[in-house]
Symmetry: C2
DNA sequence: TCCATTATTGAATATGATTATCAATATCAT
DNA sequence: ATGATATTGATAATCATATTCAATAATGGA
């Protein structure tokens, strides 16, 4: 019914954009991969499937995926932007291990509500937020 | 007694680093300025006071100020890094207006506690976190 | 199916933020 | 004051991402 490929196809049609093989390949690379990928990660996968696909097309397509609501940008630090699945994925925050880079997704409705309350108390209309907690994961703690 | 200049001086001595005029100028520019400054902001102020001070020295000194605990890096997005006062400033999070860029500092001990709880529940030792809530501020909302 | 229009692509180049290099200079313990 | 060496600033290098542009491909209509 409303699978993601179809949503992307409709979006392209409505905007007068074109449905290209590259866009499909990049979309599928993104959908098949789990986790929090950088543009470079995606480039390596997509270019592996279809040599010739360039960085520019990957960057451009990721922008589109964000616009349709299939992907979401995540900033763990000020290095590279990462992308995660957004469609039918509830908002969540992140625990990031500073040793091994592992990322755990967390959600706490109390925190979410408190954030909205704080924003409104200060006259803000909250639109989005990102909470990243950096620490040391269980495995890395064991390794001394 | 333990004013910031002194803390910085001790830090330099202990580390075998040298107390230079440039470092003093940049430290004072940082201390006099309020808010969340980028390296460029600091460069403009410091270079205004003492033409000749270069970008490299500003970047290097900001790294030192972070190491001593006088400054703290803040990432509002993946553009430029910003620096805020840390010494004797309690940890806090930020409301950021996506229209005018205004930043409001917020603190809620309930949120802080809930974060620690969540981290520990997942086996993480929390070390630091950043929460940025992006939205539209009261003034920008009025301007339609 | 063929065409014309025009969006898209990939290579190359540009940009913006930050870091590294290095020769000249300044700091500091002696 | 002197010598050892940390620091500086100009410049070049990096890194992630954006832009340019000529060649190509997708689309809707004849
Ligand atoms: Mn996630
Ligand atoms: Mn702040
Ligand atoms: Zn770990
Ligand atoms: Zn505003």
């Amino acid at each position: 019914m409303d699978n993601i490929e179809q949503i992307f196809g409709n979006f392209l049609r409505e905007k007068g954009l074109r449905h290209t093989e590259q866009r499909d390949i990049i979309l599928n690379a993104f959908l098949e991969a789990e986790g929090h990928l950088s543009a470079e990660d995606l480039y390596i996968i997509a270019n592996g499937k279809s040599p010739g696909i360039g960085y520019a097309t990957v960057y451009r397509t990721l922008k589109l995926l964000c616009k349709v609501g299939i992907a979401r940008e995540v900033y763990f630090d000020n290095g590279k932007v990462r992308y995660e699945h957004k469609y039918k994925h509830r908002h969540h925050d992140h625990l990031v291990c500073i040793r091994c880079g592992k990322v755990i997704e967390i959600f706490d409705s109390k925190i979410e509500e408190a954030q909205d309350r704080l924003a409104k108390k200060n006259g803000f209309i909250p639109i989005k937020h990102q909470l990243n907690i950096f620490g040391v994961c269980k495995e890395c703690r064991k390794k001394k």
